[in-house]
Amino acid sequence: MKKSIIVLVVIIVIVSCRTVFPVTTEQVRIPQSDDLVERGRILTLSACGPCHLNSTTNSFIGERMYDMPRILGKFYASNLTQDTTHGIARYSDAEIAYLVKTGINREGRYIPFMLRPNIADEDLEAIIAFLRSDNPEVHASDSVVGNSTYSFIGKLGFTIVNNKPMPYRTGIIKPPADSTLSNGKYLVDILGCFHCHSSSLSRINYLHPEQTKGYMQGGLKMRGADGDRFRASNLTPDFATGIGTYSAAEFARAVKTGIAKNDKVLRYPMRIYSDLPDDQVQAIYSYLMTLNPVYHKTGR
């Protein structure tokens, strides 16, 4: 009895502690150019938009993350507009880059979502250039959709189990434009497809996505915006349970319009990637078709 009380106290102490990680001291300023901003816009809409683009205002003020397990708490994607209080105007370019790659924000707090440690430098620069641009989608907006709150279990999970920031690696080069398969693999990584289409949020390997448990086999338990529970789809080329019967055109239609094979309507939290260029969708499809087909029924 005494022992279990001590264990409980230790857990409570650990959970209430806040770990502060070292922050970046780099001073980098991303140059602005129309071309970079436009490229950044497409990337930001595809990689960040699914969570941060608000469907009502069509600006990057964030949105409630209904798909996160409620047992962990209540989560909201942050405001990425240029607002000084709620947005990212306080962040330097280097701090944004550091946050995206490592998960550590400017206060030294680890945010265990949206990690992109393998994003190429030129893509990250394009995203930052877009976020600093005068595009209406990132105009300063002081709206706050909500503040994330962790439950006790959420705190426990993110303090003990998942409290490991990614290493800050620079000099990452984008795959060559003509290498379809490498590009597909890269896009599955930076768009975060494998975060949901694998088997567990706590077993994601951000550094080596293909080592993630159940990589692209689906099965992750999710909740829709209506509260219904279901599992993420299997995206391996298995004919019975995956996307083995999909043509490139059917796959592109599903990704870009939300309408899958046989007019099946994809449901939240699957997002619609209408801004993703056709060649990139094709690259993702080609890459997925090279994966080992895995028979894994996900009930969809």
């Binding site: 683009l53 829709g224 915006a225 209506d226 939300g258 939240y268 619609i272 209408s274």
Partner: protein, 120 residues
């Protein structure tokens, strides 16, 4: 361990009721059920079939888009255009239903959405 005994008991009860219930009344129950569901032609069925519920919820007030506000803002023709191609209305998150929902279904669906908005 007790629950194991419930299974054979349940099966026995099922067969007992199947054989002893009056067949006609059993059918009437089914017909009544069918009458009730066809009345909504099935706006509600279409609402579920096209997965509207997953974002807009059962009552249309779902978190990803409140349809009660939409029906106040848009005419039927505008709603038809919106559902077919949401990106024309600056909505990048809703699937485009052009060539998915036939015109006839779309009319019924919009009618159902309007009914949802007044049923508080």
């Amino acid at each position: 361990m007790r629950t194991i005994h419930f299974i054979p008991a349940g099966i026995t009860l099922f067969f007992f009721l199947s054989f002893t219930l009056d067949t006609q009344s059993f059918l009437l129950i089914n017909n009544h059920f069918n009458d009730h569901t066809t009345k909504q032609t099935d706006g509600k069925t279409l609402y579920y079939k096209y997965n509207c519920k997953s974002c807009h919820g059962k009552s249309g007030t779902g978190p990803m888009g409140n349809l009660r506000k939409a029906v106040e803002k848009y005419t039927d023709d505008q709603m038809r255009a919106y559902i077919r191609k949401p990106s024309d209305f600056n909505n990048k998150k809703m699937p485009a239903f052009a060539n998915v929902i036939p015109d006839k279904d779309l009319t019924v669906l919009i009618q159902y959405v309007r009914e949802l908005a007044v049923s508080r």
